[in-house]
């Protein structure tokens, strides 16, 4: 099976974020990491390839820093990478990101496209499904298991509140992958070495410009959310904090 994995670089989970001057995005000087569900999507593609053969291609969009995500994926076992490299890609909405991806892969023949179920930055949970629609492919979201069969694939969808559902679907298809579907592997030293010689195709904004258009939605303002609760911070050495907490538990929460 030939699988494309869409990956995204996002600010590190614990990274303190600062707003830019216009208050429409964050400042770039933060540490980045791979969007967690995308790491599970990559792992799943590698496992499928190990079972059924084929090829794993990883794709991302973003400035030069985003290449790190592709390098790590190649080190873990992806065969080649595609980097839509430009700062402008950061500000694209899901519709245009998907259109840019579709344009970048128009000469490829994939059986499956994986994305993480959502990104830790925008959290739209849309790009994968939008891409499926643009390609005219079926899709399934929040996937916890994938099995190939003669007719196509059987996937396990996670529903809410502990429910699941198996869905049979034909190929090619787009799947959005849930965190926890598998156990992530680490890159090996030899993998890191080999990654240096694996092909990485760069796609400029100009190459896909004709496929994308104006954003359909716009972030007017980004800001630190107003607190809705009056949070009381308890400070002091641990022993003192413990005493204060017990006092709250007894006199205010009334559970002791």
């Amino acid at each position: 099976m030939k699988i494309l994995v869409c990956m995204k670089q996002v600010p590190q989970k614990d990274a303190p974020l600062k707003l830019n001057e216009s208050g429409t995005w964050i400042r770039e000087d933060v540490s980045y990491e791979v969007n967690e569900p995308d790491a599970f999507a990559l792992e799943e593609s590698l496992r499928q390839k190990e079972k059924h053969g084929g090829e794993v291609v990883v794709i991302t969009s973003g400035p030069a820093r985003a290449q790190q995500v592709l390098r790590e994926a190649l080190a873990k076992g992806a065969d080649r990478a595609i980097h839509l490299e430009d700062n402008a890609f950061v500000g694209l909405d899901a519709f245009n990101t998907a259109r840019a991806f579709a344009a970048a892969i128009k000469d490829e023949q994939f059986d499956l496209i994986f994305t993480g179920l959502q990104s830790d930055d925008y959290g739209y949970a849309q790009t994968g499904v939008v891409l499926a629609e643009l390609l005219g492919w079926p899709h399934a979201t929040i996937i916890m298991h994938i099995e190939k069969n003669d007719a196509g694939i059987r996937v396990k969808r996670e529903l809410e509140a502990g429910y699941f559902q198996y869905v049979d679907m034909p190929l090619p298809a787009v799947l959005t992958i849930q965190s926890g579907i598998n156990k992530l592997r680490y890159a090996t030293l030899i993998g890191i070495k080999q990654a240096k010689n694996k092909p990485l195709r760069k796609v400029t904004l100009a190459e896909v410009q004709s496929a994308i258009g104006a954003n359909l939605q716009k972030i007017e303002r980004l800001y630190v959310p107003q607190k809705t609760k009056n949070t009381e911070f308890l400070e002091g050495p641990p022993a003192e904090v413990a005493k204060k907490l017990v006092d709250k538990l007894r006199n205010e929460v009334r559970v002791l």
Binding site: A161, E220, T228, L234, L245
Partner: protein, 331 residues
Amino acid sequence: MSDTILVVVEQREGKLSRVSWETITAGQALAADTGWTLEAAVVGSGVAGFAGEVAGKKLAKVYAIESPKLEPYTPDAFAAALKQFLSSHPAKLVLMPHTYQVRDFIPKLATAMGRTAISDCIGYKKDGDKLLFTRQMFQGKLAADVSFTSDAPWFVTFQNGAYRADKVEAGASAAPVETVNVEIADGVVRNKPQEVFKEAKQAVDLTQAEIIVAVGRGIKEQKNIDIAKQLADALGGDLAASRPICDSGWLPMDRQIGSSGQTVAPKLYLALGISGAIQHIVGMKGARTIIAVNKDAEAPIFEIADFAVVGNLFDIVPPLIEEVKKAKAGT
């Protein structure tokens, strides 16, 4: 003719979900602010009964969008049905709850119509003539006001708990119900869904728990879960976790709180090393009191905490266990 707001409600297993009522509440607020007409729709096969139930609320009209191909749910059929409906019943604004099912088809529907969805919103603002939809970004650390720069219909989904189901206004009289049969051609539906099932009988029902001690990534290693367990035992409460902990197999899935786990509303929710990703918060923000211990002062969990401790949980929890034990023994 005035513009229309259409709320698409969700029914599953013979019931309208609570978030559907929440979304109608959101629609009623938007209708009051804009002067637009509010309508609702139920999508499925044999859903007239649901439409009748919805019609009791303050709405101008309720549609039952019907086709035998809409049961069971598939994204292909739902997107096709709503696209067809919206082409004959234009709406300015289309509102839906941000459920797993809606997430599955709304990007497809919007894309098929050359439109976009602003998803997982927690509210809206009216800025002159402009509608801004507020959504959480970066896992809740920041918020954004987002506007549409495209033509209608504008698709918006609201987060579970963003509006209150018990605030939905009843109508003076029942709204008229109209059935709209949609044609879904053979071959449109490509996925074949099987029966919905539960993995295993849920061994632990945390929804009834009075006290919950929950652990997140900050617990670092499986063996450390024991101190959270000791604290839960001392308090006479139950142990729970955020998703990454259950994904790692450190606690069983039935201890998971959040959108993919259980939704709880205990007297006390004590969050240890939980950063407070949106998917977790939606499962526990209904707790009467939230105490959070986290080393990261910026963690979104503190936004909703009543009492907060910025610090290392491994320093705080051991003396806390002792103090709780003392308090219990002393009284």
